[in-house]
Symmetry: C3
Subunit: 138 residues, 3 copies
């Protein structure tokens, strides 16, 4: 059985943000107590979603710094420059990080490792609130 | 319910190609009007699949250039060189981009963001036509 | 229908390891002969999972070397340094490679390409045995 909902995330600044609590709250509303998977899909091309350490915020800072270093702005190799210097790097980072994750659900709850949290990655300087589709399959 | 089909893609040149229309056409044949997810799986180790901007083709050009820059050919660090200079970089790009995507399906249709398209990424210079498995779960 | 199991992998050294046979063995125990998808989820933030060439082990060596080159240790940009020089690079590699894969299942068996194998990527120097959740949806 598929249970699907589309939500609007809060408006986030450029950077990497923990959203595990938001997803847990949506999952609770679905009231499904079974095993399965939860698919989280970002409907945008310059924002990503991934999993990483939920404890020390310096991991989020450093991952963001790394991505800015590997896909810097204002490089002569970019030809897609009309939408701002942060746009093409944002598309590249989205391709590297990915725009969806699939998570195991056990008895209706996220079954993540102790140190795993869900990272929403906003790669644009001034983005609108982003949309996310949750699909639960049991 | 799982609905599965395996298709052969057209033979693509090295580079990044929009295949959203091909996937929509296969999905239509499945004639399933429900919610769920569609899993697209490339059965190869030197071609990838991802989502990104469907409008300006310069995004595809620049993503390809970026990947060629980050994983260049003829580097002294490569030991896997028997299958051509483009082979090991192609394996690396596949690992970075990924060889499958999972997409939300709403009422039997792809539910992508306005600017999202499906990118098939051919990383070899002279590849055969590639095979893709579509699995729809509702 | 969802069938789920959690397993402990063998303790692996830092590097990239083929685990296709381990997954096939777990899948056999599930005794499901239908079509669907298998989701493999690593419950850790410094180990990844991906698919790539199952034949020449030099592909695994070179992918590992590439990741060590792109995310080297002891860089001044890292602020998350308390858990060892290999820790922040391990988080970055996990974000680039991903910590889960979804695979097509046909008649109860993995339907991979001829040259595809499942790579478990251990990014820490001295990690404990890692945990993996398998969820089969048919």
């Amino acid at each position: 059985m598929a249970h699907q909902t589309e939500i609007q995330l809060p408006k986030f600044n450029r950077g990497i943000h923990l959203i595990t609590h938001l997803i847990e709250s949506e999952l609770k509303k679905m009231q499904i107590g079974e095993n399965g998977i939860l698919h989280l899909f970002v409907k945008h091309t310059s924002a990503g979603i991934t999993l990483n350490e939920n404890a020390d915020p310096s991991v989020r800072t450093d991952l963001n710094t790394f991505l800015n270093t590997i896909a810097p702005e204002n490089q002569h190799i970019y030809t897609h420059t009309d939408e701002g210097a942060d746009d093409m790097p944002a598309h590249i980072k989205t391709a590297l990080i990915g725009n969806s994750v699939t998570l195991p659900i056990t008895c209706g709850k996220l079954n993540l490792g102790t140190w795993q949290g869900i990272y929403f990655c906003e790669f644009r300087n001034h983005a609108q609130a982003r949309r996310l589709i949750l699909t639960l399959l049991t």
